[in-house]
């Protein structure tokens, strides 16, 4: 098994990415294909004394920059390091692709190269969130800003599989992010999604509010990409603010300073428990091939951890399992719809009246591949 690595993606690329790949090989035996400008990758390998390692370099002339328009990058940079990495998966040379580059760019390129998985309406980005009980998975965190009910439902299906494999939870619980606990709360899409979840055999716990995310009350939190993105970024930012405030407070008195010194190990350990860079990569779920995204600020250790997480997801056959589950749920929905149609016909025969309470069928996969993220 090999992982294609976008060596030029991320704030500290290529140095941190190449070093992470070297660590992943040395410590974990993970083989990688490093894509990007050969001389730059080669000089990093030299710096690390790692030119003898069996890491392949695959040339790519262009780099998708952080914050670049994903759709423009896709068109104007046909030979980007991200593109070459995704194509290594498409060709079967690698089992997965990893990038610490721009999420929008990586998403647009992988969707273009790998395409959507059969049956999946909208791929989603899943993030691992630390909670009081361990971790939970939140999706979507940025790919689909205004998903429909059926999209949200599929996020739940995909998130459940990811949670089973990544967190080793059996029968993970699924919650729908909402502004209140009652079934009637939320937008039309959320209320319809609530219905779809309730009718399914997923371990659905109903609505969860922003205030319960960190309590770890559910394993999978389903949300639209807009509020998921906001929630994720708000929590990163708040942890940083609290750390800064704490540091400010302790400089006020000698007593506090002493306390802070004594407490540093505890604080470090707490930060570790809530530090995203410790815990692998965010997978793009619903593509026909595995793509994982690391934090833009990833250091070598974070890249190594991300590659470890990615290789585990390959071993555990995340993609194949999601495809099977999506297919199973679609079959169930189709047979339920067929049942409703039959029942309507019978009723029409008896009462001579139509039925208006057929459940929403959800939209079928369309040819249109664009999500909100790459339209921009």
């Amino acid at each position: 098994m090999k992982i294609a690595v976008d060596a030029m993606g991320g704030d500290n690329a290529p140095s941190a990415v190449v070093e992470g790949a070297v660590l992943a090989y040395q410590e974990l035996g993970i083989e990688t294909i490093l894509t990007g400008i050969p001389e730059r990758i080669d000089s990093e390998l030299s710096r690390l004394g790692a030119r003898g390692l069996p890491l392949e370099i695959r040339g790519a002339e262009q780099i998708i920059e952080m914050g670049e328009s994903p759709s423009r990058a896709l068109k104007s940079k046909p030979n980007s390091s991200m593109r070459v990495a995704a194509e290594a998966v498409k060709k079967g040379d690698a089992s997965a692709v990893f990038s610490a580059g721009d999420t929008g760019g990586a998403f647009a390129v992988s969707l273009h190269v790998l395409r959507r998985m059969k049956g999946v309406l909208r791929p989603a980005i899943a993030a691992l969130i630390p909670t009081l009980k361990g971790f939970c998975i939140m999706l979507d965190v940025g790919a689909n800003l205004v998903p429909k009910a059926q999209h949200l439902f599929q996020f739940g299906v995909m998130g459940q599989i990811y949670s089973e494999l990544a967190l080793e939870v059996t029968k993970p619980t699924v919650g729908l992010l909402n502004v209140g606990g009652e079934d009637s709360k939320g937008t039309d899409a959320i209320r319809s999604a609530h219905e779809l979840f309730s009718k399914s055999d997923l371990n659905f716990m109903g609505n969860v509010e922003g205030s319960t995310i960190f309590q770890g009350s559910v394993d999978v939190i389903v949300c639209d990409g807009f509020s998921g993105n906001v929630a994720l970024k708000v929590s990163e930012s708040l942890s940083e603010m609290l750390t800064t405030l704490l540091r400010e407070e302790v400089t006020h008195s000698v007593r506090s300073k002493i306390g802070y010194m004594f407490l540093q190990n505890g604080l470090k350990s707490m930060r570790k428990r809530t530090d995203y860079s410790e815990y692998g990569a965010a997978p793009l779920l619903g593509l026909d091939g595995l793509c994982t995204i690391g934090h833009g600020r990833s250091n070598p250790k974070a890249v190594k951890n991300a590659l470890k997480a990615t290789s585990r997801l390959v071993e555990k056959q995340l993609t194949g399992k999601i495809e099977g589950e999506i297919d199973r749920h679609l079959s169930v929905q189709r047979s339920t719809e067929a049942g409703w149609r039959l029942w309507s016909q019978i009723r029409e025969g008896i009462f001579q009246g139509g039925s208006s309470d057929q459940p929403a069928a959800g939209d079928e996969p369309s040819g249109e591949d664009e999500t909100n993220l790459i339209k921009k």
Copy 2:
């Protein structure tokens, strides 16, 4: 000036609310009209030895419960403590109404009794958020789940005035909560709102991401009620989680325990800086009268602080100032539109072709009073 207080609203009502009102009178000279079940309010006053104070009790038989459907509460409880309090404002007996009860219920009742302010399309709930630089205002945090561009723009106008008065900022900066900094990011409504803000004379700073909220980069953050609600609740929940984790970590070693003890004053002071109950009440902006909402868990001190903040907003004429600003912006928009129409006509005369690039006019206030919050 008197403030009508929904004495039965909140988790600790009526005891915490009545005690807060007593403190507000004793310490700050704020006069209140306490609405609710007279015997229960009276017995609280007796308990506090405050029966002699000039606090009016106004009877109301019903109580809107936490989590109760706002629309149902509005219909089935015509004599609720919240309703009687809002009516005291309508009648001119009080200058503002305060409740620590269910936000949805308080919103529905005030909107029904006080009505929307002239020119305002959608009232919004504004929250005060602690940042590294002090405070910022975020709105909407729950009343409008899917606002249109013009609604978001008006949130900015109202938030700006509130920020000037509550935070004493001159020419407050306004940001639009989004998933990225670029103008092209976000939903259609957000992109159109971005255009409206850019054309206005507000001190608009463009998009802000979830990660910048706590840095205090802008004074007013405009967002839809769904993601605003999620952001607010996520941040409350995360602070609590971090405190719990810290407490867990310190029990691991004697060294840490000592550190925690030394640090307690610092931690307390930090908590104080980030504790919502320290800082007044969240106003409902855009009603024809002032209504403020306190945290459901408000203790007497929080109620007192909320009444202090409310009385200041009355003194500073928040409602009148918002009305003036909304009116001014509507006039500017109308004259711009008139200009565009004239220009279109001239161009049509010259080129014999229509103009298609007239800016969106935004919808006019309709008779429909329902927001997403009270539809449920």
